[in-house]
């Protein structure tokens, strides 16, 4: 059922021709591809876990394969390693591991049950989605290396993770916020209950003793709400005072603090009224608003970046005295490292030996594994799926593509858009104005009706808090950039959304932007009827294996290729080789001979001949991104002016432009000319978005009002683009335009709402028509409306 005759029962890789191994499970014989797989399968069977094979989904080729060499896990038992990778939890030790190769619940069942059978293991939980295994064990009964070894012997490659990756700042922030929210909400519910009793007592009469009791209990419950849940507001107010830039935290703190102290005083002296209910409700709604805003902000940290914590912490370095496991921090450019199947790649570099499929979804969103062989670049954070690779490191840590993406999105997180800064400043002045108004209201009421002065002033302070105003813009921007990053558009500049919304024209670069920048075979004409198209592809692929010419990429095939003898490369001409004693030549017309004649065109033609007979010719061209046409049509339909700026020759550029329906074409442009075109458009009042490749077009991108660049490994580090396209698709551009327009619309709605609310509520409260609890509800509701309105942006399609 599982293993076909020709694939391994355990790892589903093809069985080598001269291999005759078998695994016996439940009396049935199954083929195995190597002694390692046989051993693993027997280990699984002998542990009584043969059920794994029935439970698992279709086996993944290569996954679960045992490591080729038994890794020296003992290294991890020295104290340095233990303190870096494990932490103590009471008497037990605890560690988090990244386990590669886990794709279904059968894997996680197998791993958990195997570990639980080891001595001294207290808990083992594996999340198949995040690939993280948390394991707790008693260090007296078992060693860390034993656990790593047990996982490795099952065929899963464990990657020890340092504690740091657990303690991400946004995670800690979320935990603290959750605790505050819970304290505030439970406190509010309890105090509300007592308040019902107190209010009922005011109407129906209540024992003085019972009233005092209810007030004291309310006080007990409100104290943690004020001192714990509301602490960020007090801290913010204090910070604002110290920097002389009062924010919305100041009136909030004054209101909460004053109402709480006055209520405590009333409780102790049997005063006429307490406001514990208003205090807790105010704190709860504010905390809820902050919590929702925080979630929107965190969501804008691209998941790609969150996943960068999945980088392995160790790597296997190949050195003269054998393979050594070293922490990734000790990897340097030029090191050679070994990447096993299922391993995440720890640094940027290129393949020096081996051939394998690599999952680059983390960086490009491209779901299908990419074939990699000698010379091909590898990016940190991608996962090697099939076979062992040897790679040479070119850069590590923050210099890698992944590191750059993290840094760019970090920059976006801290750079506040100009729009928000303005709103903040306005809110600052507003706070001062409101404090003045509150003082005036207090004085007037004190003169007219001193017994209501405190209550009315409290209402004024609470109801006019400019929270909604201050939240209106940042919440919308956070939600929008969060949604855009889900669509694989990384906003690196806070102003980008606003300036995209005003775009009137889009200008595109050709190579690498509208096209993939990777040559592909676009046409194949077979001239000799003895061969099928497939034969030609396979022979061409086999001939090109030795070539490192960029065009050779176009011919690569993941298939069984015929053996080529006597391979010969003529630089700039083509390749030749013998297959079954026949001489094949693949290259330009002169090189292939056989009467081929070159013809002029935009695409490159490659000819193939066999023993001087013409067999076939290929047309190799840089292909358009698949959705380029549709995306450009959509942009055009919005009334945006589209233009194509390219350094390529007129004919080639016009062909592409005609294909895509772009009317305005500027071919053979130098970067200066491109910049001049953009500046002319700008002087005509246009708002130009430039979509181009980071390196050549850096000045052009910088000159445009908004710049968008696709993320191609090398160019990424130098880019200063406002928006980075992480995926292979252009369609998100269209969404980005919709998104930016929607964002500005929602920001305007929010601001209008906040202003209308404040202008209506202030006079009512000042005249004494709004009791403190209603003021708390009104103000909180207005902030919630703003935040929820902004969150609608995270659902834009």
């Amino acid at each position: 059922m599982m293993g076909d005759a020709e694939t391994c029962f355990h790892c589903a890789l093809p069985i080598p021709a001269n291999c005759n191994l078998a695994i016996t499970i439940d009396g049935e014989q199954h083929p195995a591809c190597c002694p390692g797989c046989k051993a693993v399968a027997e280990l699984i069977r002998d542990s009584g876990m043969g059920q794994y094979y029935a439970l698992r989904e279709a086996p993944e080729p290569g996954v679960g394969r045992p490591p080729e060499e038994a890794a020296e896990w003992r290294v991890f038992d020295n104290d340095n390693m233990l303190s870096a990778f494990t932490r103590s939890a009471g008497d037990d030790s605890e560690a988090t591991l990244y386990v590669g190769g886990v794709y279904c619940s059968a894997c996680s069942w197998l791993i958990e049950s195997t570990l639980m059978r080891l001595p001294g293991i207290a808990a083992a939980e594996l999340n198949p989605v995040t690939h993280r295994l948390r394991v707790r064990w008693s260090p007296e009964e078992n060693a860390y290396s034993e656990i790593l070894g047990a996982l490795a012997s099952l065929g899963y490659e464990p990657q020890p993770l340092t504690g740091d990756s657990e303690a991400r700042p946004e995670l800690l922030e979320q935990r603290a916020a959750l605790k505050r929210l819970l304290v505030a909400s439970l406190g509010m519910m309890q105090v509300m209950m007592f308040a019902v009793g107190l209010y009922a007592g005011e109407f129906q009469g209540i024992d003085a003793e019972m009233q005092r009791f209810l007030r004291v209990v309310s006080l007990v419950v409100t104290t943690p709400v004020v001192l714990y849940a509301a602490r960020p507001f007090f801290a913010g107010a204090w910070r604002g005072l110290r920097t002389r830039r009062p924010g919305m935290d100041l009136p909030v703190s004054i209101a909460v603090g004053a109402a709480f102290i006055a209520s405590v005083y009333a409780t102790l002296t049997d005063g006429p009224a307490v406001w514990f209910d208003s205090v807790t409700m105010f704190v709860f709604f504010l905390t809820l608003g902050r919590f929702l805003e925080m979630r929107a902000r965190h969501r804008s940290i691209d998941r790609t970046v969150a996943l960068s914590s999945l980088l392995p912490n160790t790597a296997t370095r190949i050195s003269a005295d054998g393979n050594v496991i070293v922490p990734v921090s000790q990897l340097f450019a030029g090191d050679r490292i070994l990447i096993r199947a299922g391993d995440a790649i720890p640094a940027d570099g290129f393949v020096v030996k081996g051939e394998s499929g690599v999952d680059e979804a983390l960086l490009t969103g491209e779901a299908t594994p990419q074939g990699k062989s000698t010379g091909d670049p590898l990016a940190a954070g991608s996962v090697n799926l099939d076979r062992v690779l040897e790679m040479q490191v070119t850069c590590t840590g923050g210099d890698t593509t992944l590191g750059t993406i993290s840094r760019l999105s970090e920059r976006a997180r801290y750079a506040r858009p100009a729009f928000v800064t303005v709103a903040d400043r306005v809110a600052g002045y507003l706070v001062i104005a409101l404090l003045l108004v509150a003082t005036i209201v207090a004085t007037v009421w004190y003169l007219v009706a001193p017994e209501r002065a405190f209550e009315v002033t409290l209402s004024v302070l609470v109801v006019t808090c400019p929270c909604a105003l201050a939240l209106a813009t940042p919440a919308a921007f956070a939600a929008a950039s969060g949604r855009l990053s889900q669509l694989r558009l990384l906003v690196t500049n806070g102003n980008a959304i606003e300036s995209l919304a005003r775009a009137t024209s889009f200008m595109f670069d050709k190579t690498g932007t509208l096209t993939r920048g990777v040559p592909k075979i676009t046409a194949l004409v077979v001239l000799d009827n003895n061969y099928t198209e497939y034969d030609c592809r396979i022979i061409a692929a086999a001939l090109e294996t030795a070539s490192s010419h960029p065009l050779a990429q176009a011919f690569r095939l993941d298939d069984t290729l015929p053996t080529v003898d006597d391979q010969h490369i003529e630089v700039g001409q083509g390749v030749s080789g013998s297959i079954d004693d026949r001489r094949w030549r693949l290259g330009n017309a002169t090189f292939a001979g056989a009467g081929f004649a070159g013809n002029e065109g935009s695409a490159t033609q490659v000819f193939m001949s066999c023993d001087n007979n013409a067999v076939a010719w290929f047309e190799v061209d840089d292909t358009l991104r698949p959705d380029a046409g549709a995306t450009l049509q959509d942009l055009k339909a919005r009334g945006l002016r589209l233009a194509l700026l390219s350094g390529d020759q007129q004919a080639a550029v016009e062909k592409i432009a005609a294909n895509l329906g772009i009317d305005e074409v500027h071919a053979a442009c130098s970067p200066q000319q491109k910049l001049a075109i953009i500046e002319t458009a700008q002087s005509n009042g246009e708002h130009v978005v430039m979509v181009g490749d980071g390196i050549n077009d850096a000045p052009v991108l910088a000159g445009a009002d908004t710049s968008i660049a696709p993320a191609h490994g090398a160019s990424l580090a130098q880019t200063s683009a406002d928006v980075i396209m992480l995926g292979d698709s252009l369609a998100p551009l269209n969404t980005a335009v919709t998104m930016s327009a929607r964002t500005m619309h929602i920001v305007r709605q929010n601001l209008a709402w906040a202003i209308v609310y404040n202008t209506l509520a202030l006079p009512l409260a000042a005249l004494g028509y709004v009791p403190p609890w209603a003021a708390a509800i009104g103000m909180s509701a207005s902030s919630l409306v703003v935040v929820l309105n902004a969150l609608r942006l995270s659902r834009v399609e």
Binding site: L178, L186, D359
Partner: protein, 55 residues
Amino acid sequence: MSILYILIPLALLLLGGAVWAFFWAVGSGQFDDLDTPAVRIIMDDDQKPGDGNET
């Protein structure tokens, strides 16, 4: 009504217990992921490396 003098403090004790339990749960990481549990029920188990679901 004097039963309230016992019931309310008792309720507060339970409240304290609930808060403690929640703090423990948050501290042990049970609330770190607020997004996937909601969709886990509709996720199929047969995730493959190429599915893209886990990225």
